[in-house]
Amino acid sequence: MGQGTYLPAESIGEDGLLAVDCFTFSSSIADHLSSASLVISHAGSGSIFETLRLGKPLIVVVNEDLMDNHQSELAEELADRKHLYCAHPQSLHQVIVGMDLKSLLPYQPGDATPVAKLINRFLGFPDD
């Protein structure tokens, strides 16, 4: 799927088997996120913050093949602050087995208004 070669087998989950659905793009990803009790995601900042803003438990899997791997800095920092769990493809299983979702701290959404204030002040616009 995507840039990869592995295609998961879809399943409706009969007889106690895991239900699996897959898509490369969904316009309703927000709905899927809202109804999830756990999200496992790559380390893109958009995916991370979209999930954290919904208050969903999140495991981030870092792609080690990306040049300079700047994605891992964000995932590791947020994991240090206990907002999510961070894993590599090889350690994902261990992380899932050992995770305690209740120990995750909620993420307070950020605020862009300090930047707006500084920009406005620099340009000479009056403060709101």
Binding site: S45, H70, E73, F125
Partner: protein, 223 residues
């Protein structure tokens, strides 16, 4: 012949000297607020990038007063299909919410300096091409404000905006917000703009970066 040669050298030397003096003067003024009180709306160039960059930029734009930053010019890389679309949606929502009265936004694409994973050697050539294209676009736009947050596309545009200041074509204020994904190290774009003192205000979202780069403003997480 000697006299002619001497004249030409004198002209070149004088031009270089004037350019250098002007360059030092602009560098001195970089970061110093120059605006008069109650200023007019400013034409604004917004540089968009793939992935989280555009999402972060939209997040920033949503707290800026759009009547102060108009007309707006959005630029995205030619290979980036989503960003301009997101910008159009944003501008439509402004019209819809009656934040602005008429549409004053333009959407443009620029050749990319460097694709993700491209070798640095071939990047030199593609950057030169992108810079020529950027020059063409900047001559048309001549923005008074430049907003960017990380994608490589912003480098040629910011350098040209700075050159415009030096040459006297257009004075602008350049604002750079390093991406929230940069916690311990600056991106290449950020590093260049910081070291060359091109950005008037350089914002970082994590305290680790503010400690490493003291001329940056730490503003916390924006997302």
């Amino acid at each position: 012949m000697d006299g002619c040669y001497f004249c030409i050298m004198a002209i070149i030397a004088t031009s270089v000297a004037i350019f250098l003096i002007r360059l030092l003067h602009v560098l001195y003024l970089t970061g110093k607020s120059r605006r008069l009180k109650s200023p007019q709306p400013l034409s604004t160039l917004i540089v968009l990038g793939s992935g989280g960059h555009t999402a972060e930029m939209m997040n920033l734009l949503s707290v800026l007063q759009m009547d102060r930053f108009t007309p707006r010019f959005y630029i995205a890389a030619a290979t980036d299909n989503m960003s301009l679309q997101k910008a159009r949606v944003f501008e439509d929502s402004l019209l819809h919410k009656k934040v602005i009265k008429g549409s004053s936004a333009q959407f443009m694409q620029i050749y990319r300096s460097r694709e993700v994973g491209q070798s640095y050697v071939t990047s030199v050539w593609t950057t030169l091409l992108a810079t020529t294209h950027a020059l063409w676009l900047m001559v048309k736009i001549r923005p008074q404000v430049v907003l960017c947050n990380g994608p490589g596309t912003c480098i040629p545009l910011c350098v040209i905006a700075f050159l415009f200041k030096v040459i006297g074509i257009r004075w602008s204020s350049i604002f750079y917000v390093e991406s929230i994904a940069r916690v311990k190290r600056l991106s290449l774009s950020g590093l260049l703009l910081y070291k060359l003192c091109i950005a008037d205000q350089f914002f970082v979202q994590w305290p680790q970066l503010q400690r490493k780069y003291p001329r940056a403003h730490y503003v916390g997480c924006l997302m």
